[in-house]
């Protein structure tokens, strides 16, 4: 049997997405299941990411698995100049599954080609972070009861934000979607994605204004961070830095069923006065990550 890696969100089909949603709901009801008993999982974080690592390692622990690995490459043989190839070759001899995060783009795909055991990508530089997308989808299905016929509004850095790109790819597998992109011109959604949606006959609309009227019809409001480093001209950043900030008063025209998502960590793009609004979902979204990762691990190893 071909091993089932998860490197890029498009490695999964619509059926895989639905299966993960089903399993995540199951793990949410019953998070502690001994499916990984007797198994060892490598958690290789070549760059630190405490949030993602804890989510994965808790998921592994709740499944009864053991963890080996490192939380940043300064404490590993990588600093001694060992190639990724050799590290993965060695580790894949020892373990049943590899979870890895690495700053170099394409490293996870390469590791999956070297490794004898399945690899789950926990982020490879600015490229892919598929488990984030799956937890976003689980948050959507939990709060909206469906993955189709959604009005999805994405706000902020739509140019470099890999989470929004992957979410578009995944949600476009389901019917009746409508996308709305709100971003400064410098950080607008890349043409390859608007073109992709056009080819699939999925409506998408672009705005530069972030106003209560624009978002009134949204089912999902997906906020991202506008980072200063992304601007070639600092004056451009100064002009837009306070435009793409969500304040509680902006939500008064929105539907009761609207939920606000954010991949976290947040800086200032969502005012703290939004946190107590029942439409704010980003902290629960993070918790959903653990159930989703339990689901992904079980699916990857064919344990369910």
């Amino acid at each position: 049997m071909k091993k089932k890696d998860l490197i890029s969100i498009t490695d999964y089909t619509r059926n895989d997405y639905l299966r993960i949603m089903e399993l995540a709901a199951e793990f949410e009801k019953n998070p502690n299941q001994n499916l990984l008993e007797g198994k060892v999982v490598a958690s290789l974080f070549f760059e630190p990411s405490t949030r993602t690592r804890l989510s994965f390692e808790t998921a592994i622990s709740r499944l009864g698995g053991r963890i080996v690995g490192f939380s940043d490459s300064s404490s590993s043989s990588v600093t001694k100049g060992e190639t990724l190839h050799d590290t993965i070759r060695m580790v894949s001899n020892y373990v049943d599954l590899i979870v890895m995060r690495h700053p170099i783009e394409g490293s996870a795909r390469y590791a999956s080609e070297v490794s004898k055991v399945p690899v789950i990508n926990a982020g490879d530089g600015a490229n892919q972070h598929p488990t984030q997308t799956l937890l976003d989808m689980y948050s959507i299905i939990k709060t909206q009861g469906r993955l189709d016929n959604l009005k999805i509004y994405m706000v902020g850095d739509l140019k470099y934000g890999r989470t929004v790109h992957s979410l578009i790819m995944a949600l476009s597998e389901f019917e009746g979607q409508e996308f709305h992109f709100i971003a400064p011109p410098e950080l607008a959604m890349p043409r390859e994605y608007t073109q992709f949606l056009k080819e699939k006959n999925i409506p998408c609309y672009e705005y530069t204004d972030f106003t209560p009227e624009v978002i009134a019809d949204a089912d999902i409001l997906y906020m991202t961070r506008v980072q200063k480093e992304r601007f070639s001209d600092p004056i451009e950043y100064e002009k837009v830095k306070n435009v793409y900030i969500l304040k509680n008063e902006m939500l008064k025209l929105t539907k009761d069923s609207l939920r606000i998502l954010h991949p976290l960590p947040r800086v200032n793009e969502i005012c703290t006065d939004v946190d107590s609004n029942p439409k704010a979902y980003y902290f629960t979204q993070a918790l959903n990550g653990m159930y989703t990762r339990e689901a992904i691990i079980a699916h990857t190893l064919g344990l369910k």
Partner: protein, 151 residues
């Protein structure tokens, strides 16, 4: 035509690769590995061409390329034409086609790509032929014709 042919001597059996841009001659030789084979090879560069302005031509004796092999040069010599010669006669003509997958040959333009950080061969899927867009199998970034560097 007769005039150009005279400039690079005729071959009995083999392949003539014509309409190579002059400045790509040595890259074509290297991609096809012609610098590593024992066959008799003659070539000319800076020949007149109505199409390219200036072209190069390569003649390889007793060598007949597989399509996969010759299509590798399509990225740098998209107008190249092949004449297959048997006993001084052209018995077949071929044009090069851009392959679906490109192995090696091209460097990924993304400096943060694993292929530029570890010693592994590049691999691209041809996302579009015109304009040429190569999608890296590893980092998933697109390398266009303007960013294309031959390895």
């Amino acid at each position: 035509m007769a005039k150009n042919l005279l400039k690079v001597s005729a071959i009995k059996d083999g392949t003539v690769i014509d309409h190579i841009p002059s400045d790509k001659l040595f890259q074509v030789i290297s991609i096809l590995g012609l610098d590593r084979i024992k066959n008799q090879i003659t070539f000319g560069a800076n020949l007149e061409s109505s199409k390219l302005g200036s072209k190069a031509i390569i003649k390889v004796s007793n060598k007949f390329f597989e399509d996969d092999e010759i299509n590798k040069i399509s990225l740098i010599a998209p107008n190249a034409k092949l004449n297959i010669i048997k006993d001084y006669e052209v018995i077949d003509k071929k044009v090069v086609e851009i392959p679906k997958t490109v192995y090696g040959i091209v460097k990924c333009f993304n400096p943060k790509c694993i292929t530029n950080n570890e010693n592994i061969p590049t691999k691209f899927v041809v996302a579009s032929q015109e304009p040429l867009e190569l999608k890296c199998h590893y980092c998933e970034k697109i390398t266009g014709r303007d960013e294309m560097v031959i390895l």
